[in-house]
């Protein structure tokens, strides 16, 4: 590595290479370590651009780093190279209270943005536990969550646009307002493997009139979970729904008695909104709680009292951090109704590996954090702790969940991706990475099993998806046949938005036959529906059953609406998708869990791709117990012009450009 060459191109004094400097950029909040060859403490976006361009030319790997609080090894420079530190780029460039948008540099600390926003009556919704130190850039790279994401959504729901230095060293801007596929969704949560975020425009939310906190004790985890499900089913969406098990409560109370109930499960519920609604919902929750067997219920509206109730939850990690030098904060997700099962599995796994785990979970979205305390200097103990953590994740996947709700995949869970995704889906992830970063220099070797890792065929342990419908199989067969013959396809729904005739020589793939509502899951409030279902019909059917989706009321099919991204906010509730690729493979993206940061967010990326990335066979989305506002469908949408990056990514999905050829320019 010819560092002098780089040094002359970046701000004076910004390039570090002493052994001590390399040593302190060899770690993050997890266990893995690797030293970089040099560290750039960027002073400007231009520094980053020049450094990445130099890396691209010299084929030197680079890793962007915010506050380095990552819990999955995401900041570790596995192959050496350059660490690009963003901590000094910490200016809030603008904060528009009227438009509720802030533009920030990537190194802005989450709490600093919160403080500035609060001054004008707003807040930034994502609230990871690390918010006092972690940065907005890091939060976006990891698609961070936090307790109040139950109501407000995770980071991807609050980033409106980003500017990024791409792996080729060029500067690009991605926004929800762009035509074509949702490239912004691809970047959020990509853990620095597709570029370096250099500027972010984020949405701010008005601070609600009132916040109310309730603390309830339950005789069992099952009872607490049934209470959570009943609350959601009653159409109440609390801002937070946090749960703790008895060992956790006991360790908190040992350090500092707060009067938490010493029941097997404790729920901390927080409501916000206007005063009347809060009072109404609190009364309803009180009743639901009792009917679910709550042994105690405390409520607080006063900030000091609320703070007291929160101290137990917030102090939990602190209490555990005192028990041993290290705490493994595992992070997995299960469908909400599987929480009792996963808790039992975690207890069995802990016993088997002789580790003590303490449970904290965001019960509302099925996101569990088993915390295992240990001493990293005891190698044998580390092995047991790691094995237990992995088995817990395996259990999550077996129960239909995911590997990570908010901490990311990084190094720790990359091999486990093969449990969750089919080999076809993993290959697609790899192709996306190859397309955007052909030289594999942007945070290499993260997120996915390394090529040549143990055979992925056998590793897949996720419960198999429901059989494709007969009609879907027909489409798959057609595309497979066509793949061999290099046939071009015209994907067509109800022709509501684009009714141009099918070009000569192209085979038509009519999706209107995909007409099933595959699953309406009332316990988890998720809906899986085939793409050919008419939007109007879907609304009618759901309303007759007393449930609702966030889709505009418009003509055409669900698939057509999503493929054309014919309305704002479509992305908000999308959880998963089955997509038929031009090579005849069917990939399964996302799933039934509402919080999921495993792998690239391809189900959102595909929105607006007009069938050129793949044929949407079915989509899984959030259900609501009450009508939800949805943007109006845009009338008369025209096929978009794709940006250069959208075309690049298309090659990962459909290298021959055989789906809807000529539709986009």
């Amino acid at each position: 590595m010819r560092l002098s060459e780089l040094r002359s191109q970046v701000s004076a004094g910004s390039l570090l290479s002493s052994p001590a400097d390399l040593a302190v950029y060899s770690y993050d909040g997890a266990l893995d370590r690797a030293r970089p060859d040099a560290v750039l403490v960027a002073r400007s976006i231009e520094d980053i651009r020049r450094a990445v361009a130099w890396c691209a030319g010299a084929k030197v790997p680079f890793v962007a780093r915010g506050a380095g609080t990552n819990l999955s090894g995401g900041c570790i420079p596995l192959r050496g190279g350059l660490v690009i530190v963003l901590s000094r780029l910490n200016r809030i460039l603008s904060l528009d209270a009227a438009a509720r948008v802030a533009c920030v540099e990537p190194g802005v600390v989450n709490l600093d943005l919160q403080t500035q926003a609060e001054a004008v009556g707003l807040f930034y919704a994502p609230d990871p536990a690390s918010l006092k130190v972690s940065t907005i850039g890091g939060n976006a790279a990891e698609n961070a969550g936090g307790p109040r994401c139950l109501k407000y959504g995770v980071t991807t729901n609050h980033v409106l646009a980003v500017e990024a230095v791409m792996p080729d060293g060029t500067l690009a801007r991605f926004s929800h307002e762009d035509d074509g596929p949702e490239l912004l969704s691809l970047l959020i949560g990509s853990e620095g493997t597709l570029g370096v975020l250099t500027k972010l425009w984020v949405r701010l939310t008005p601070i609600p009139e009132e916040t109310r906190t309730l603390l309830a004790g339950f005789p069992s985890i099952d009872a607490a979970v049934s209470c959570v499900s009943a609350i959601i089913a009653a159409g109440i969406l609390p801002r937070c729904l946090e749960a703790m098990d008895r060992p956790t409560v006991e360790s908190v109370e040992a350090g500092r008695p707060l009067g938490y109930p010493k029941d097997p499960a404790v729920l901390l519920i927080e409501l916000d909104g206007d005063r009347a609604a809060c009072a109404r919902e609190a009364a309803a929750i009180d009743e639901i709680g009792r009917s679910c067997g709550a042994t105690s219920m405390r409520a607080a509206t006063d900030p000091a009292e609320r703070e007291l109730l929160w101290q137990g939850r917030r102090g939990a990690y602190a209490a555990l951090a005192r028990l041993a030098p290290n705490v493994l904060v595992e992070d997995g997700v299960v469908p909400r109704d599987k929480l009792p099962d996963i808790v039992r599995r975690i207890q069995q796994i802990s016993a088997k590996h002789r580790v003590k785990s303490y449970l904290l979970f965001h019960a509302g979205d099925g996101n569990i954090h088993p915390n295992i305390v240990y001493d990293e200097r005891d190698k044998e103990q580390v092995l047991r702790v790691k094995a237990a953590g992995h088995e817990m994740l395996q259990a999550c996947v077996e129960l239909g969940g995911s590997l990570s709700g908010e901490h990311g995949i990084g190094i720790d869970k990359r091999d486990a991706m093969a449990w969750l995704f089919t080999p076809e889906t993993l290959r697609l992830f790899h192709r996306v990475k190859d397309a955007v970063d052909p030289a594999h220099i942007a945070n290499p070797d993260k997120l996915f099993p390394l090529p040549g890792a143990a055979s992925t065929e056998k590793s897949f342990i996720r419960p198999p998806a429901a059989e494709l419908s007969e009609y879907a199989r027909l489409l798959v067969d057609k595309v497979r046949e066509g793949a061999a013959r290099k046939t071009f396809f015209r994907v067509r729904g109800a022709s509501t938005r684009w009714n141009a005739p099918t070009p000569d020589g192209a085979v038509e793939l009519l999706t209107t036959g995909l007409g099933r509502i595959v699953e309406l899951d009332r316990r988890n409030y998720t809906l899986t529906v085939e793409a050919g279902v008419a939007v109007q019909e879907l609304h009618r059917e759901l309303e007759s059953q007393g449930v609702f989706v966030r889709l505009p009321k418009c003509g055409g099919t669900v698939g057509g609406l999503l493929a054309a991204r014919a309305g704002g906010g479509l992305r908000e509730d999308i959880l998963g998708m089955r997509l038929l690729l031009s090579n005849g493979e069917v990939v399964e993206l996302g799933g039934k869990v509402v919080k999921n940061v495993a792998g690239y967010d391809l189900s959102r990326l595909v929105l607006g791709s007009w069938g050129t990335y793949g044929v949407i066979l079915e989509v899984t989305m959030k259900l609501h117990a009450r009508p939800v506002p949805a943007a109006k469908a845009a009338p008369g949408v025209q096929p978009p012009r794709f940006s250069a990056w959208a075309s690049t990514v298309r090659r990962a999905f459909d290298p021959g450009g055989r789906l809807n050829p000529g539709l986009v320019s």
């Binding site: 770690y27 000094r88 030098p325």
Partner: protein, 429 residues
């Protein structure tokens, strides 16, 4: 063989230095609490970075004494990280251990100074007075370039920071007095109020008399913090023992000091005696430490006795790190300041962040110290403070310097001066 503590008294109990530093799980939650990290954005100048550097040094995995030295020497020892840390890893004590590991020989000037402070307090007072005379006559200013070229830039910086130089010290003022038969308290005179700013010591004396009844001048030896931070542990231990013995001879009343840095160090004496065979001294140090009180604690307790009056200027409080992080004294001084200033009291943003004074830090790392000082003064100006209250010698010196330079509309006072002034005024009214 380096002169090391080897073991520390941590919040989780007595630990070896290695165990104490290994308690850092690298979660990074301390980073934003650290003024030097916030100022530089450099991991090596963050608590987590310093912990890892020390740990690697102990494990023999880091051969870069120069960079390690830079990382550890830039630690302000403010302890804000420990307050933020879930496991309360004692980063300041660890950084000092690291510095001791790296230090070949203590600078002869520091050795000489501590030696003089241990054995020849009279000589120390005389030398200071001579220095102050030079200061008064303006000769010291002329001497600064000479000091710089001859390797005493620290002395030159010290001179630049100091404005007024008293020609009497506290011993001259209070030393001769006969102690009352049953004093309610004993005043521990830290070197700052004793030699550099006797006005503070006198104010403390007056305020304590008014609030707590008659007390006695302890005429104590130096606490040894200078040796602990910059010199040799043996010297620090020697001074600690002297103080313990001296206090044992002087009743059992509370010992009240008015420089939070010294007071916090007095309270930490037991940590100096953790070696095998030191058991008896540890015991005596614990008894001693239990007697020690920071004067701001007393003001907090007596807040209701304090007169509230017209202050005439917005009054704010700057936390001395060794009061806040060293002794967890956040509310006590504020209770007193609020009682005295009434509606004129206002909190400034970042009141709990180090001003960059930090003992000799301001003289050694002038640039970094100045950056922190500018921020601190800016925060004080943002609430239009006219009076800034605090409780450490180092903060008083640093803030006075900063206010002179950037915000001459405001002045800095020790909380004692504020209390004594109000009591005086009240009596006069």
């Amino acid at each position: 063989m380096a002169d090391l503590l080897g073991r520390l008294l941590t919040d989780l109990g007595e630990r070896s230095t290695y165990d104490a530093v290994s308690q850092c799980s690298r979660c990074g939650y301390c980073e934003q609490a650290c003024p030097t990290y916030v100022a530089t954005g450099l991991e090596a100048q963050s608590p987590r970075g310093r912990n890892q550097i020390l740990r690697l040094m102990i494990e023999g995995k880091l051969d870069d004494p120069k960079a390690a030295q830079e990382a550890l020497s830039t630690c302000l020892l403010c302890g804000a990280c420990t307050t933020a840390c879930y496991a309360r890893v004692p980063v300041a004590d660890l950084a000092l251990e690291g510095r001791r590991m790296l230090r070949g020989k203590t600078h002869w000037l520091v050795r000489l100074a501590t030696r003089i402070m241990i054995s020849h307090r009279g000589l120390f007072a005389f030398l200071l007075k001579t220095a102050f005379l030079l200061k008064r006559t303006g000769l010291s200013k002329l001497g600064r370039p000479f000091l710089r070229v001859s390797g005493f830039s620290v002395l030159a910086a010290m001179d630049a920071h100091t404005e007024d130089a008293p020609l009497t010290n506290l011993d001259d003022e209070l030393g001769g007095q006969a102690a009352p038969a049953a004093p309610a308290w004993r005043y521990f005179a830290p070197c700052g109020p004793r030699y550099l700013m006797p006005r503070v010591g006198l104010a403390t004396w007056k305020a304590l008399q008014a609030l707590k009844g008659p007390g006695a001048y302890l005429d104590n030896p130096c606490c040894g913090l200078l040796a602990y931070n910059y010199g040799e542990l043996a010297h620090a231990r020697e001074l600690a023992k002297k103080n313990i013995v001296h206090a044992e001879k002087n009743g059992t009343e509370p010992i009240i000091g008015d420089c939070s840095s010294c007071v916090a160090f007095l309270k930490s004496y037991p940590q100096l005696f953790l070696e095998p065979g030191d058991g008896a001294w540890k015991e005596r140090a614990s008894v001693f430490a239990a007697r020690v009180r920071d004067v701001v604690e007393i003001y907090g307790e007596c807040a209701q006795m304090l007169p509230s009056g017209e202050v005439g200027a917005e009054t704010t409080y700057h936390d001395s790190c060794r009061a806040l992080n060293g002794q967890c004294l956040k509310n006590e001084p504020r209770r007193a300041a609020k009682a005295l200033a009434g509606s004129a009291y206002c909190e400034m943003p970042g009141a709990d962040t180090c001003c960059g004074g930090a003992g000799a830090f301001g003289f050694v790392h002038e640039e970094l110290s100045e950056a922190l000082l500018r921020k601190k003064v800016g925060n004080a100006a943002s609430v239009q403070a006219g009076v800034i209250l605090t409780s450490s010698t180092s903060c008083l010196t640093q803030l006075a310097h900063g206010l002179r330079k950037y915000y001459p509309e405001a002045k800095v006072l020790h909380l004692s001066e504020f209390v004594a002034g109000a009591l005086d005024k009240n009596r006069g009214a």
